[in-house]
Amino acid sequence: MGDKVARVYGGLDWVAGDQVALLATATQWTHTDYMTIESYDNATGDITFTESLKYYHYGESSSTAADFSGVDMRGEVVLLTRNVRIVGNDTDSWGAQIVTSDTVELNGVQRMGQLIFDNVECYNCS
């Protein structure tokens, strides 16, 4: 809470401007923080965000020490940014949508929609 830093693994390809989500680790499932990276130290894995975190995120790797094989309860940090994007323009918070469907046209032609997304980001979608 109020922090602008977090530590993840070093050696990632994360760069300034990337968006990440820090998932909720306490009792409120809504307590996910969406952050923008200001800097990432490739050696230490230290991230500085452009703004402060709003919520608490737990970060100890062996939460239960020797008990229960030291269950790892760290909050996930998820990289959201991708270079192929489907974006909803922000109008009245009305999201974009992606629909893949089968259909039969009036003349009887059948179409079967197929979709492959690999590392595709959907932003402002509903």
Partner: protein
């Protein structure tokens, strides 16, 4: 309360399907389009059946719609990656294909499809039986998009 089954495209004209050309033609060339002109703002654009158009510009004006009955691919240059954006109220992949990058060669720049519309916008119907809403990437054909793997 009033209900509308659909507002536009209630009865889509039939597509006369042709085999897709072996060679791509550039989006930026007027010769690539049946109308003889590169799409401008507000156009209802169609990539016609049989044609393969390569999206080679950085940005479209805001299109009313983009219907793909042929093939649309994004031009990719690994040496000098280019960011390309399609602006449209909706994109409808019907008897065609929308392809960005490939499994072997993911797209290198930033490829964006930016969709527009509000809660009262026109809905798209695939047929009399299927409706797709608005502000969407609607697909009853083939969509393949490959971005770069991050880690």
């Amino acid at each position: 309360m009033e209900g509308f089954r659909c507002v536009v495209n209630c009865e889509l004209p039939e597509v006369e399907e042709m085999e897709i050309s072996d060679a791509a033609v550039p989006w930026s060339s007027p010769d690539s389009w049946p109308s003889g002109a590169v799409p401008v703002e507000g156009d209802e654009v169609e990539v016609p059946s049989g044609s393969w158009i390569e999206f080679d510009i950085e940005e479209t004006p805001l299109l009313k719609s983009l219907t793909i009955n042929g093939r649309l691919t994004f031009k990719n240059d690994s040496e000098t990656p280019v960011n390309r954006t399609i602006h449209s109220y909706w994109v409808f992949v019907r008897a065609g294909e929308l392809i960005i990058g490939s499994e072997e060669n993911p797209y290198d720049g930033i490829a964006t499809i930016r969709l527009y519309g509000d809660p009262n916008g026109e809905a798209v119907a695939f047929s009399m039986f299927t409706e797709g809403g608005n502000k969407g990437l609607m697909n009853v054909g083939l969509v393949k998009m490959f971005g770069k793997d991050r880690d």
